[in-house]
Symmetry: C2
Subunit: 115 residues, 2 copies
DNA sequence: TACCCTCCCTTGTGTCACAAGGGAAGGCAC
DNA sequence: GTGCCTTCCCTTGTGACACAAGGGAGGGTA
């Protein structure tokens, strides 16, 4: 049974990852930490969600990857936003806001409160 | 390839239907018109989306149905909110708003703009 | 040595929006 | 009455994807 959180993540996962990488190259673990922090722990990225998403974004050319070494001296794959990825974010983020706002408005019209 | 609109709908479809029925009993066609109107046509309910959703909500006990006659003198199945459905809406709607807001905030932090 | 944390990945499962199909019946123009 | 549009209901097949649950490896610390 799909819940609200899962599907909201589904609607914004790509954007959140692109946004995270807008701050600079980052490895998967770092991205998941960024998302958790940026959403006050309301959204948690499971690994089985995150890594397929990263591969998907890479296949589509929004990001590229490169092996490196993390701050903790561990082997890590660093992802970096491509020009196309940046453009993608700039094009899609406003759409997300517009649609989310439209839904928010629809859900708020007073009706149930009067019952 | 899933797009923003589809997944935002996915996250809010049940709530939108429950909300529509908060205004009173309505048939499927009417619900889809209500959603279209309430979201400024940003969200369109395909029939292959709407009817399975209605049956799903009915199975879960949030709504009940009854055959009747529409304003246009046509056979129509009218859906009505149950007490459980009303409670469901009141419990879930705030969660939707909370999570959507958290994502909105995360997506807005200035970073890409500086590149 | 033992354990936790960081970091990467995969397979299987279930859910679901959507496209594309079908059907029936009212109203209206000609 | 014939044709067509609109309203109203439904189903099947398909693809996409979050998640749970698994596995692995290496660093740090006690």
């Amino acid at each position: 049974m799909a819940d609200t959180e899962t599907d909201l993540l589904r609607s914004s996962l790509d954007l959140l990852v692109l946004k995270a990488l807008g701050w600079g190259p980052m490895h998967g673990y770092g991205i998941s930490e960024w998302v958790e922090g940026a959403t006050a722990s309301l959204l948690l990225l499971e690994e089985g969600t995150l890594y397929p998403a990263l591969h998907r974004l890479e296949r589509r050319g929004w990001i590229t990857s490169e092996w490196g070494v993390s701050d903790n001296n561990r082997r890590a794959k660093f992802y970096r936003l491509t020009t196309a990825g940046r453009a993608r974010f700039r094009a899609q983020a406003p759409l997300w806001h517009r649609h989310a706002e439209a839904i928010a408005v629809a859900l708020r019209r007073t009706s149930l409160e009067t019952a």
